[in-house]
Amino acid sequence: MTHNVGITAFGAYLPKLRLDRASIAASHAWAMPGLKGQGKGERTMADWDEDSITMAVEAARDCLQDTDRSTITGAQLASTTLPFADRLNVGVVAAGLNLGRNITSMDVSGSQRAGTSGLIAALRGSGDGVMLFMVADTRKAAPASINEFQFGHGAAALTLGVDGVIANFLGSNTVTADFVDHFRGSGQDEDYGWEQRWIRDEGYMKIIPEVVSGLLDSTGVGAGDIDHFVMPCTIGRVPAGVTKALGIKPEAIRDTMAANVGDTGAAHAILMLAHALEDAKPGEKILLVQFGQGADALLFEVTDAITSLPKRPGVSGAIARGRTEKEYMKYLSFQDQVKIDFGMRAEVDNKTALTTEYRKKDMITGFMGGQCSQCGTVQYPRTLYCVNPNCKAHETQEPISFADTPAAVMSYTADWLSYSPSPPYYYGQVQFENGGRVMMGFTDIDPDDIAVGKSLKMVFRIKDFDKQRGYRRYFWKAAPAS
């Protein structure tokens, strides 16, 4: 067998919050009663402390599981909603994952094809290394737009390499056409789109057959041999029309997860691919297609190795952990599309000392505490003297990760006084199984299911926004383990 590059693992992440579309429609009924028909199902919605960076970290953790992270040689993040226009976004992700400094790194953006075009480039350029390729998007939509109903927020991650390939990369094809179905100007928050019928007839129905035919011709694979047709699309009947035109069997069409996830933008093709890999069988062929100022098409063939890939929550697990959110105003506030008066406590200046943040990078972004080499005490933060009152040894603490250590609530409160974009502010003392303990913020809390002793897991989240300067700082929070 040749050393073929391909996908070696997959992972996914969806925010826990699922915005009830009927609630969106109800909020707009005064002006647009016609939106009632859109009010079916749910869409994913990032919590106030989630963005494309935090979701990428979580998707990567789902993908990597117990993988030795020192084997990763590169990391890329594709998104149209990168929090920073000029600061390596994947650099934050890599620090959060403790990938070390000796990796290549790149952000990919610019269109809905950021995910697939980035993936093509990563597959072609990964050499003998292991590339961690992540996609995440948290697009905003204008209130009462169709996009508001159809968009979702989510992330996915793949590792690419030559060892342990679960899906061989057979080839790709790209068509580039400046077809402006929608656009988002630099500095704009929301998309502007053109008429859907034109997008369908002149866009999808012409460009997709062109890009797929080219790929099938070059790889010598027949349309009828495609087992999984993965193509994000929010326009009804387009996947059916495209596959019919190409001769791909209708049962190959993968669910776009429109009913309960929504379209996660530049992340969606890879998210759907991860979904397909959850139940794909060895030998099956997966066609991955993404539309956007032209189109990308990639072809994969599933290998026997997929049967031995360790189980992970993946897309199905991410879908299952949802909690319905009916507060449309909460969504608007999280999206910064309505300004709630949270009072003076929300005015605190969150200027970050970048020097301090860099010195403490592994402790903050990587959640590395210390373990005393003399007494074994695990502690956070890592300090110059051991915290064990019977030890206090000097400079004995070796870095130790807290990110994947099981923990439990030691004490907590629901604070209605402190500022939180999602009151009440839950925080408390967290006891880790390794002996460490940390006073930290909680997230994803169900008010009816929090108690001393409750099991917790650590998740990577936004800690504070510095809206004055456009900065945001990240740290870890405690979330219910299940």
């Binding site: 003076m344 502010y425 408390g428 460490g436 930290m440 700082r473």
Partner: protein
């Protein structure tokens, strides 16, 4: 072996401003109000003060840094003035500085003052702000009630006492302080409230409701100290001396080591043990006449009764509900209304507690005067349960 300062320092003058929302006053007016009372009480001229300690915690929102605001406001000329800050224990810290100066023999007469002008911030509660460049990166942006509320969840879990029973005892703590505060003309909150009002109040940080939280006030308090010998020479009778003055700070054990259970104050336990040793108190439940503790929140007072070794561990709920700490109980606590009702101008609070002890020991507490108190204890606390400064002072009559 150190001998401590028992009976080496006498309090010969004290003053305390009215506490409350003093919209008409800045820190300067508050300071002068307490200073004038203390000078008159001591019967000295300001020129006799040889050194001073100035306590304020939120200096950025009123007087600014250093001892200069005290020197210039009170026109104290040519003497050393040290500004101290130890969070909410600042007032006791200021007293400690002045007391140690006298005890050492460095000066004959010293002064301690604490002040806080909080009602120029626009905040209800304490103002929010940076905790420093490193803590800002990871420490929750919690509030004081949020931190102290966690005592209640941990206390319930540890002692197997239902949260409803703990809440009931917490409510009794506040009810009692409102009863007491109503009799104090200098108090911020002077209205008795019903248990129902307390129990049904809006939630601030679960399980602390509005009436589980103390008032945030403007105010100032001042003490003038000297040696008992000089006090006698000044013609003072009914001399009140400091029996013990102890301070203990968290060293990170509670926050980062795993030996603490979250339900009590490790620092208060150490400070009170040391204070009892310094004062020669063997059985605090029998020997102490009255308490002024740091009831920033009702739950703080509840667990502090155990940390001072007055209630048995796990027994504070019963003692409180039995009325042991009420005005007519075994050891009256917060007879002046406490932080809850007298108010809590941060830097002044430790000295305000000493002021009440001083008045009570001299029989000058008016309507709220207790019968023949001999020994009073003040407990002044700053920070959060997992990371704090605890100060315990024992003040009594010179036998």
């Amino acid at each position: 072996m150190a001998r401590g300062i028992k009976d080496k320092v006498a309090i010969v003058g004290m003053g305390c401003s009215s506490f409350g929302e003093r919209w008409d006053c800045g820190a300067e007016e508050l300071m002068v109000e307490a200073f004038e009372e203390a000078l008159a009480d001591a019967g000295i001229d300001r020129s006799q003060i040889e050194a001073a300690w100035f306590g304020t915690a939120f200096e950025k929102v009123h007087v600014g840094v250093s001892g200069l605001p005290m020197a210039t406001t009170l026109r104290l000329s040519g003497i050393p003035i040290t500004r101290v800050e130890n969070m909410c224990a600042t007032g006791t810290e200021a007293l400690r500085g002045a007391a140690y100066a006298v005890a050492s023999g460095a000066v004959d007469i010293a002064m301690a003052m604490g002040v806080e002008k909080l009602k120029d911030t626009g905040y209800g509660g304490l103002p929010a702000g940076s905790k420093g460049p490193f803590p800002d990166l990871w420490v929750p942006n919690g509030s004081a009630p949020g931190n102290f509320a966690q005592l209640a969840t941990a206390y319930s879990a540890k002692h197997g006492i239902s949260s409803a029973d703990v809440k009931q005892a917490m409510a009794h703590v506040s009810w009692k302080s409102h009863q007491n505060g109503a009799k104090n003309e200098k108090a911020h909150l002077r209205k008795a409230v019903t248990m129902e009002t307390i129990m049904d109040a809006p939630m601030i940080a679960e399980p602390l409701g509005l009436f589980d939280c103390c008032g945030v006030s403007d105010g100032s308090a001042c003490a003038i100290v000297t040696t008992p010998e000089i006090a006698k020479a000044m013609g003072k009778t009914d001399i009140v001396t400091i029996k013990a003055l102890q301070l203990c700070l968290s060293d990170g054990t509670e926050a980062s080591f795993n030996s603490w259970d979250g339900s009590h104050f490790a620092t208060t336990r150490i400070a009170s043990k040391k204070a009892y040793e310094e004062a020669g108190i063997k059985n605090p439940r029998e020997e102490i006449s009255m308490l002024e503790v740091h009831d920033c929140f009702s739950i703080t007072e509840l667990v502090t009764m155990e940390d001072l070794y007055i209630s048995e561990e796990g027994g504070a709920v019963k003692d409180i509900l039995d009325g042991f700490y009420d005005a007519d109980g075994g050891i009256p606590c917060q007879i002046d209304g406490g932080l809850k009702c007298f108010g809590h101008p941060i830097g002044a609070s430790g000295l305000r507690m000493a002021y009440e002890m001083y008045l009570q020991l001299q029989g000058k507490a008016g309507e709220r005067q207790l019968k023949d108190p001999r020994i009073g204890l003040t407990h002044n606390l700053g920070g959060a349960p997992h990371n704090n400064v605890a100060a315990v002072a024992v003040i009594g009559r010179l036998d």
